[in-house]
């Protein structure tokens, strides 16, 4: 399941609901990403995430479908936010359930590596009085390429 939303989410509550709805699965791995309060030795006040409504959802669904093609018996939950976020707020959550742990760990890493490079979002971070567009990172590109 893919959700792209402006509203904050409670990663713990989402994890509990996801786990309860997949009682046939013995392993659940989750990742959640949050807004850092500093970057480049400066204090971060806000992080704006811009998306392309409709297209962003469909591209994330493609990533999810690819994970299901690679690990056939997993269940997945992907939540990604847009809008203006403050430090500490959740940005993204990925949860993968599978019969055993390896597929859950691997698929969760795969989903995050792909989301980092292929999910249509543009991030703008405000540090001090200045806003900076976040550039894609080479390490993220390599992580995705290695799959």
């Amino acid at each position: 399941m893919v959700r792209v939303q402006k509203e904050a989410f409670d990663a713990g509550a989402e994890l509990n609901a996801f786990t309860q709805s997949h009682t046939d699965m013995g392993a659940v791995v989750t990742f959640s990403g949050h807004v850092r309060d500093h970057n480049h030795a400066e204090t971060v006040s806000t992080l704006e995430l811009e998306h392309y409504a409709g297209f962003t959802e469909s591209e994330i669904r493609k990533i999810e479908t690819e994970a299901h093609n690679r690990w056939s018996h997993i269940r997945t939950l992907i939540i990604h936010r847009f809008g203006t976020l403050k430090p500490g707020e959740p940005i993204v959550m990925v949860a993968v359930a599978s019969a055993h742990r390896k597929a859950a760990f691997d698929a969760a890493t795969f989903l995050m590596d792909y989301l980092k490079t292929d999910a249509p979002f543009w991030k703008k971070e405000t540090r001090g009085d200045t806003a900076h567009w976040i550039e894609p990172r080479e390490t993220d590109r390599i992580a995705r390429q290695n799959w």
Partner: protein, 83 residues
């Protein structure tokens, strides 16, 4: 009318998120749209024409030589920084 959309840094370069234009040309290539939007401003032509900028036509990623004349919505996407 064709809707043209810009995202992220490109939205700021263009100073607008979206607008509508009539294109009479067939075929209509990415380069034709850029020429019309840039109106001789080399900075805009360079930003929109950068190899890292992808074109989305009606929700599908298309190649540079794709004929956009039948597309209702065309988006210019700079490199993404999701997650």
């Amino acid at each position: 009318m064709t809707k043209i959309l810009f995202f992220g840094p490109l939205r700021e370069v263009m100073g607008v998120k979206e607008f509508e234009l009539d294109f009479e040309t067939t075929p209509l290539l990415r380069s034709d749209i850029i020429a019309r939007l840039a109106k001789g401003q080399s900075t805009i032509a360079e930003e929109l024409g950068a190899a890292s900028v992808r074109i989305i036509a009606d929700n599908s990623i298309v190649a540079d030589d794709f004929d956009l004349s039948a597309s209702k919505e065309i988006a210019f996407l700079p490199p993404m920084s999701g997650g």
